[in-house]
């Protein structure tokens, strides 16, 4: 019986959901003011004050979506994230390709790129707020600075690692500079780009939420900030959960694109050879 039920490939998703439910149950048991006597805090309702209560968190999320209160905030945060992600990726790709193919320029800019990358870029948020105002663009700018460098370094590396034989072969087959870029450098860099995109999705969210946190009138980060001001821990957790869910969705879209575009890559365990 257990042999059939234990986690395996077929029922993995079921077990993953079960684990989530178990986490929520544990959370509920440990924070409920009435279920267990207080064993850490001196007051049995303090656990709920500090860690929230899952049923109230879920209820909050339910209310948000049924009353439609969250949509405007979620929309703003998502727009900021997607814009930061798209602009950061495209510019990282462009600059990465350019610098990888222009050795003199990349040697010249090398210390500046390193400096810009090691700078804690979150401190730019207040400056961006001054430059771009409290609307979405200051958050987009912050997200772009986070996403750009990750994509840039990966593309740069990807272009540097193009197989010299494949390159020589394409040249012998008559590819000109533009065709080399389009048909050799770009596809060769894509595997590196995709590995960076998974990290970038999360960072694009960091950019928009931190931006909202520091000054905004809309967005999930703004909701969380408001709730924190009134010590409404349940709403804070609700905001975190909603953000996590949407970050997962975005990451899933990236994974989907990756599967479509990277069909040519050998997968581990694939033994289809003839």
């Amino acid at each position: 019986m257990w042999n059939k039920l234990r986690p395996n490939r077929a029922n993995l998703v079921l077990w993953q959901w079960l684990l989530l439910v178990a986490c929520f149950l544990l959370w509920y048991v440990l924070t409920s003011p009435t279920l267990l006597p207080a064993f850490y805090f001196d007051d049995s309702s303090k656990a709920a004050f500090f860690f929230g209560e899952p049923q109230k968190v879920l209820l909050r999320i339910w209310e948000w979506f049924t009353t439609g209160e969250i949509y405007v905030h979620l929309w703003v945060t998502l727009i900021e994230t997607v814009l930061a992600f798209a602009i950061g990726t495209v510019s990282g790709l462009g600059v990465g390709l350019w610098l990888a193919l222009a050795p003199t320029m990349s040697a010249l800019l090398d210390p500046y790129i390193k400096a810009a990358n090691s700078m804690p870029r979150v401190i730019l948020a207040p400056i961006f707020a001054v430059w771009f105002g409290l609307g979405i663009w200051s958050k987009v700018a912050l997200g772009v600075t986070l996403v750009f460098f990750i994509v840039f370094f990966n593309v740069y590396q990807g272009v540097k690692e193009v197989s010299p034989v494949v390159l020589a072969n394409a040249r012998m087959l008559g590819a000109n500079r533009k065709q080399l870029l389009r048909h050799v450098y770009l596809p060769s860099a894509t595997s590196w780009v995709f590995s960076s995109l998974h990290t970038s999705v999360g960072l694009a969210f960091v950019g928009s939420v931190v931006g909202e946190y520091l000054g905004s009138a809309r967005g999930v980060g703004y909701l969380i900030l408001q709730a924190e001001g009134t010590f409404d821990i349940n709403t804070v957790f609700a905001g975190i959960l909603v953000l996590t869910a949407f970050a997962l969705v975005l990451d899933g879209i990236v994974a989907l694109a990756e599967r479509r575009l990277m069909k040519w890559q050998p997968k581990t365990g694939e033994t289809e050879k003839l």
């Binding site: 197989s163 034989v165 494949v166 020589a168 072969n169 394409a170 040249r171 012998m172 087959l173 008559g174 590819a175 000109n176 065709q179 048909h183 050799v184 596809p187 060769s188 894509t190 069909k263 040519w264 890559q265 050998p266 289809e272 050879k273 003839l274």
Partner: protein, 273 residues
């Protein structure tokens, strides 16, 4: 020197010296004052010990590498940049892994702006010719080493180059597949009669396929030390020709010259370690 306009490919007095990146004074002369002339339709093999600069010579002929001195002439014209009349079959994996077999075969046509439909048709035809009809939509990693070599062959030959440069193209294959591919190559060559410069370290392969075998000395400063005309009858079967008395005779002759160089090259590798 002979007028180089009669030749498909003329490497005249080529010297290639590489300077070390870290130390400008550390130089290595891979090829020294080497001349090699290949007539149109001639199959020339170059043999030599490993690491003697055979590939360097081929890259010079392809225009991928600028010689330090000397001139490269292609059908009487001085070569500048990539050799547009040559096709190159590489020793290692050279297919674009993100293109399917068919797209790899038609890559050269696409680069030249041949319409898609026509390129596809010719690609399918070439895939069939190298025995891979129906494998067009597979990616290189889904093919075996021998199949990838066939795709590479089709990729090079579909452009109908006047000169074919081959850098130990079959060295990674097992002996059976290798003989099969050698025969296929000879057949394709016999039909079109292109100039071939074939680099190998396998003397059997060189003799069984070529019109002429050039022996290079061990590096550094590689230069030709012997040239043999292979007067074996054609068409040949690479497996059968090996028992031909003339083959045995030629093999003994060439090996007599090559042997010393191989030992020299081997010694150098030992002392270098």
């Amino acid at each position: 020197m002979q007028a180089s306009s009669h030749y498909a490919l003329a490497l005249d007095n080529i010297t290639c010296t590489f300077a070390s990146r870290d130390n400008r004074n550390a130089r290595y002369t891979a090829v020294k004052e080497t001349s090699l002339f290949i007539a149109p339709g001639e199959f020339v093999s170059v043999v030599g010990p490993t690491g003697c600069g055979k590939s360097t010579l081929l890259n010079v002929g392809a225009g991928l590498l600028q010689p330090s001195s000397g001139a490269v002439t292609v059908f009487g014209e001085k070569l500048a940049g990539i050799n547009r009349r040559a096709g190159y079959m590489f020793q290692s994996e050279a297919l674009m892994p993100w293109r399917s077999a068919l797209d790899n075969v038609t890559a050269g046509l696409a680069f030249r702006g041949v319409p898609k439909g026509e390129a596809r048709e010719r690609g399918e035809e070439w895939l069939k010719r190298v025995g891979l009809g129906g494998f067009g939509d597979r990616y290189p990693h889904q093919l075996s080493g021998g199949m990838r070599k066939r795709v590479g062959m089709a990729q090079t030959l579909i452009l109908d180059p006047d000169i074919i440069l081959m850098d130990e193209p079959f060295s990674a294959l097992d002996i059976q597949t290798r003989q099969l591919m050698e025969n296929e190559l000879l057949e394709l060559w016999a039909a079109k009669r292109k100039a071939v410069l074939f680099i190998t370290h396998d003397l059997d392969e060189a003799i069984s396929m070529s019109d002429r075998v050039v022996v290079l000395s061990a590096g550094p400063g590689t230069h030709p030390i012997g040239e043999f005309t292979i007067d074996l009858p054609r068409p040949r079967d690479v497996a059968e020709i090996r028992s031909h008395p003339r083959f045995v005779e030629l093999h003994a002759q060439i090996w007599g010259v090559l042997r010393e160089e191989v030992l020299k090259g081997y010694q150098q590798q030992l002392t270098a370690v």
